[in-house]
Symmetry: C2
Subunit: 175 residues, 2 copies
DNA sequence: CCCGACCCTGACCGATCGGTCAGCTACCAT
DNA sequence: ATGGTAGCTGACCGATCGGTCAGGGTCGGG
């Protein structure tokens, strides 16, 4: 049941945003009563945090691996790791980008923006040059939008093209 | 006064989303009364449509120019034109990407997603190959996120880096 | 001096929001 | 049979939402 609620909430949050999808909407999608949602979850926000915990942990684990690498050695695993996470959690990613500003208010979600910053640092090859910083942000946003937007290609092709596009963006076309 | 309202609404919509920013919030930001907002604008949504009209018209005008060009000749002006629009309307762009799904419901805003599709087609050099389609979407999202996210570089440097990054993503590094 | 037009506002409306609560049902070990 | 527990729900709550309305303030032109 919790799984059904989370699935329905994931779809609705991704399509209409966190504030745009009401508990009534989620209950109608499950389907169940609104009170049943609040029996399984303490509050509406608890549903969101539980939805975003897996991708947040995935990103945190990726960052842990990337921290061991230095300089440009981190770029390639950062690209493949991020593309993999983005494709696995594409709906969650949509929520994260749409709701990113108000996440700073909720402690449980506040870990995400800094984790994105750490990923950007790895994608930039630990460089502080404006070109590297901008390119890193472009990869983060570009992969997210390409995955979220409806480009109709098979998943394995999409994954390959995302990785190659990201490498080109960063100026590391080889590998 | 209308200008003050639009400015306040632009900031709040960009930070909290359309549904996340209430008329009370906007009135407090202006500052004025909530009733005053609805004297100048028929409804809350009218504020949003008026905010998004200039970037929508700018994108439409850009698409008009790009339609005259064919194949890969459209790529370079598409890149520079889109980067220019993105930097000019970076807050509006944030709203557009966060609120993109529910725009299909409102006729006044429904023109935006197809316009984005036309831009993506130009960025892809009118190609139907998966690689070109994915790269075009990556440029659209990458530029938007890089502009919206707080990369602390001077505007002219940002503009230059965005154009170069987009060209690399598309595999057109020359020019 | 008055009038109409334009701005602006407090008070109010129904609807919907997130959240609470008492109680119903189904099940299971004793 | 019985007591307890887990799952679920309808009814309800205060707060806030977008939106309406009657009226007050402030002008410039006749």
């Amino acid at each position: 049941m919790r799984r059904h609620i989370l699935d329905a909430a994931l779809r609705l949050f991704a399509h209409h945003g966190f504030k745009g999808a009401s508990l009534q909407d989620i209950a109608a999608e499950v389907p169940c009563s609104k009170a049943s949602l609040l029996y399984h979850f303490a509050e509406k926000e608890a549903i969101l945090t539980e939805l975003l915990t897996p991708p947040a942990e995935g990103l945190s684990a990726l960052n842990g691996q990337l921290d061991a690498l230095e300089g440009s050695r981190a770029v390639e695993p950062a690209v493949t790791g991020y593309v993999g996470l983005a494709m696995q959690f594409h709906l969650e990613l949509k929520i994260i980008f749409a709701e990113l500003p108000q996440m700073l208010g909720h402690p449980a979600l506040a870990v995400i923006p800094p984790a994105v910053d750490r990923l950007a640092d790895a994608l930039a090859g630990r460089s502080r040059e404006p070109g590297a910083l901008v390119s890193a942000r472009m990869v983060i946003g570009g992969v997210a939008v390409a995955v979220a937007g409806g480009v109709d290609v098979p998943p394995d092709v999409m994954r390959d093209e995302l990785i190659r596009g990201a490498r080109r963006t960063l100026g590391h076309p080889h590998s």
